[in-house]
Structures are given as structure tokens and as C-alpha cells.
Amino acid sequence: MPDKAKIILEHLSFYYGPVMALKEVNLQIRPRQIFAILGPARSGKTTLLKSMNRLTDLIFGTSHTGHIFIDDREIYDSQISLPELRRRVGMVFDLPTPLPLSIFENVAYGPRLKGMTQKQPLEEIVEKSLRSAVLWEEIKDRLSSSALRLSGGQQQRLCIARVLALEPEVIMLDEPCSGLDPISTASIERSLTELKEKYTIILVPHNIQQASRVADRVGFFLSGELVEEGSSYQIFTRPRDKRTEDYISGKFG
């Protein structure tokens, strides 16, 4: 019997003004797995991620119908604390987004917001997070230098470490390897596979091959609709839907 679902989407539709970005999505995401969201551009992948930590709240004129439950709690409930939700559901963006601070302060940013000020616990959590993101060995001697001086791949792993420092339950990654070389990509994929031991990971892969390499389950989206969802093996070998098959085999995309 697989684990109970961590995240449940029920009839979720999402709108930017009058434009529909997600259409009646029903989906269950289980813990300690990598769930890959596959689909061409403008199929609602980023919207789906950002609706799960309510970053879409920053955009004016959005609305939704349906429900998102995380651990059986409706996250659009008015009682919910947004900073709390975003700490539980961490997000890594498609481009590396280090803040113009030192490496240390970038990772410590989240814990500091939470009110952690003492040096020692901060140092511990920074080291732990950087180790989990497979970055520690490369930069442990220059924690106080600017994060902007890191390479693109290092910056992206820094962003992963920054999310890990929140001690989240869910980690969402939106094409985290889009600007990266194959070596950096490989090291990020390696860290993802390690991280799924502890976290629920939702990944928008930057290509189909990446999904087939790391994902446990895959959902294929097209124009805001969830076309098909299944195990990675099933989706890549015996897709049920013709559109999924066409996308996987590269007929469009």
C-alpha cells in the first residue's frame, strides 16, 4: 500500500483575469517521491507550482475554483498563514535567483525570517543545507563572499540549499536546470534523488529525458489540462493517451 497522498488537488481551475490557466485538475501527489510535471510551454506548469504555495497571490487579478489540500488542510483557507505555508512548500525557480548577499546569508535568509538569530544554530543549518544540495565542499572556504560570484550551476544549488534551510516538507522545482550545463545538471539530479528520501519533490523538468531519469511519477499537462498521470515507467513506455504519446515521442513540444 503506497503512502497516503501529501497533496491533493480537487477540481482545481486557475484564472489570470478571464484567462484560464488550469482546468479542472484532479491530482494526488505522494510523499517521498519525485513527481514530474511534463508539458509544452503555456500548459500551466508554473501556475500549478505557484498555486501550491500561493505565490500566485502576488499577481493581481488571479482567481481559482476547486481545492488544494496539503496534509488534508485546505491551503486557500483564510486561516492559513502564508509565510508558514511557503516554508512548508519551498520553491526553486527556473533561473538561479541568488539575492545580492553572501553565500551564507542567502542560505540563512529563510531561517532569519523565521526569527532565528543565534550564530551557532544558523551555522549548523547553513552547513547542513549546503551539504544536502551537494555544494558544501566547493564553497565551504568562502561562505562570506558574494553569492553573485558563483557559477550558474552553483547558484542554482545554492537556491536549493536555501529552500532546504527552511526545513520544508515539499520542494517544488521549476525547470531548475534550464540554464545549466550537463555537469551541473547531473549534480542537481543527483541531489534530487538523495532528497526524495525525506521530501516530497515536484519537478518541472527542462526536458523529457530528465523526467525519465529522475521521476517516479509523471503528469502530462496540455493547455492547463491534466491529460494523463501515472508511473514514470508507464508514461514513457505505454502512454494511454495519444497526445501524451505524441509529446513523449517528440511529435510536438
Binding site: 509565510p83 525557480f93 545580492p100 535568509y109 525570517l113 558574494s146 536555501r162
Partner: protein, 279 residues
């Protein structure tokens, strides 16, 4: 007549060079005029002695203190107000009727001649609030005068912060205020600083509004309620009343040096800050 592309190109280049160099020339000419006449009269005694015989002899110490005090009051009041307004306009409200009204108000304020601010300050601070001719009245008046500049530059500085900084800060569990305080303001600081420096320049150079609100006393101020004379006002009175042209030039030269010192110091502080943050 047809002008070839090549000729147009050379013409344009010529006009642009003339524009740039005449600006430079005018600036150098003004500076030289004042410095050549004034600098030979400068010495330590001039800076540190009090003015005597209406400024005919002695130094300008009390006017330096007056200038610094007045500018400091203006900046200390206008900066938090201006930056607060800019943060409100950029981070706490969308484009709306209220934000448009505030912007229209600041634009109007920016276009008002300084003597009108002086009159307002005189009627409101000096008389109605009974602050008299004082550093406080003058500082408050200057603050209202430089407020639009500070709001405008701070808004531009905040606007220039990449949207991703906000998104990241919110995504890491930041509240709106934490995002403003930790991700936005520290990075907007250099731009905000520029606005504050412009404000300093305007405060130091102002005369009309100051005579009406801070007076023109040559006595050493003892509190925020003391009337003072700033260096610009001193310069104006020395020249206008024909008291001493030499002393006027010397004061002018000292004023230019003071502004240079303030700007250099400010740029140095800013440079150190930017380096620490790591650009």
C-alpha cells in the same frame, strides 16, 4: 540640397560634442571664478572664527554650523517620509486613484518655487506653530521642499529592483515588511542615497525660503529653536548689501568646498556599502 549620411553623422557628432563641452566649460568657469577670487582669502581662522561687523571681518563658523544643522534637520525629516511614501506607492498599493493622487501631489510640490515654500513655512511653522525663526522651522520647510525629489528617486530605485527578489523573499516565508526591509530597501539604498544627496545640495544652496523661516542671525545657535544664518544666505547678504565682496567670495569658495566634501564623503560611504553587499 541633399546631405549625405556621412555628413549628418559628422554634424550630429559635432553638435553632441559642443553640447557636452560647453556644459563642462560653463561649470569650470563658474567654479574657477568663485575659487580664484575666494580661495586666497581662506585660512583656518576664516573657517573657525565667528563673523564680526556683520561679516565684514572675522570668519564664518556660525554659518557653517547653521548650514549643517539646517540640512541635517531637513534630511532627517524628509528621508523617512520620502522613502516611506515610495515604499507605499511601490510595494503596498497597486496603481490606483490614491497612488495617482499622491504622485500628482508630489509632482506639483516639485514644481513649486522655493519662495512659496518659504512663505508657507513662515506662516505655518514660524507664526502658527510659534516656532519662530529657527533651525526647526527652516529644517521643516526645507524638508517639504526636498520631499518630492526623495520620493521620486526612491521610487525609481525601488522600481529597479528585480521582481525575482520579491518572489524569492516571499517564497522563503517572508512577510511583506520583511521583504521590503531585507530584500528591497538594502538594494535600493544606492538609488535612495542619490535622492538624499540631491536634497542635501538643494538645502545647502537654498536662500529665499531660509531667510523667511530660519532668519539670518549671525549668532552661534544653541538649540533647534535658535535662529541661524546659512552660508548661502550669508553669501547673499554680503553681496546684496555690499558689505564685503571679498568675504562673499570667500564664503562662496568655502560653500563649494563644503559641498565637495559632503559629496565625496557620501560617495565613499556608498562605495563601501556596495562593496560590502557585494555587487
Amino acid at each position: 540640397m541633399i546631405i549625405s549620411r556621412h555628413t549628418t553623422q559628422r554634424l550630429a557628432k559635432g553638435v553632441i560634442w559642443v553640447a557636452a563641452f560647453s556644459t563642462l566649460a560653463v561649470m569650470i568657469w563658474i567654479l574657477l571664478q568663485v575659487l580664484v577670487e575666494g580661495v586666497p582669502l581662506l585660512n583656518f581662522k576664516f573657517f573657525l572664527d565667528s563673523p564680526r561687523q556683520m561679516g565684514r571681518t572675522g570668519g564664518i563658523f556660525s554659518t557653517i554650523i547653521g548650514t549643517l544643522a539646517l540640512t541635517a534637520v531637513a534630511i532627517v525629516i524628509a528621508t523617512p517620509l520620502g522613502v516611506g511614501t515610495a515604499v507605499f506607492l511601490r510595494e503596498y498599493t497597486r496603481e490606483s486613484r490614491v497612488s495617482r493622487m499622491i504622485r500628482f501631489g508630489t509632482d506639483c510640490l516639485a514644481g513649486v518655487p522655493s519662495i512659496i515654500f518659504g512663505l508657507f513655512g513662515f506662516v505655518f511653522f514660524v507664526i502658527f506653530l510659534r516656532m519662530g525663526w529657527s533651525i526647526l522651522s527652516g529644517g521643516l520647510t526645507l524638508a517639504t521642499m526636498i520631499l518630492p525629489t526623495i520620493i521620486c528617486t526612491a521610487e525609481e530605485a525601488i522600481k529597479a529592483i528585480p521582481h525575482s527578489y520579491r518572489e524569492v523573499s516571499f517564497a522563503l516565508g517572508g512577510t511583506r515588511w520583511q521583504t521590503v526591509a531585507r530584500a528591497i530597501l538594502p538594494n535600493a539604498l544606492p538609488g535612495i542615497f542619490t535622492g538624499v544627496l540631491l536634497g542635501v545640495g538643494r538645502s545647502v544652496g537654498e536662500t529665499a525660503a531660509i531667510i523667511l523661516t530660519a532668519g539670518s542671525s549671525l549668532l552661534m545657535p544653541t538649540s533647534l529653536f535658535s535662529p541661524i544664518r546659512t552660508m548661502s544666505v550669508h553669501f547673499y547678504i554680503l553681496a546684496r548689501e555690499g558689505i564685503s565682496m571679498e568675504m562673499a567670495y570667500a564664503t562662496g569658495a568655502a560653500l563649494i568646498l563644503l559641498i565637495l566634501v559632503i559629496n565625496t564623503l557620501a560617495n565613499w560611504l556608498l562605495w563601501r556599502y556596495v562593496r560590502r553587499v557585494g555587487g
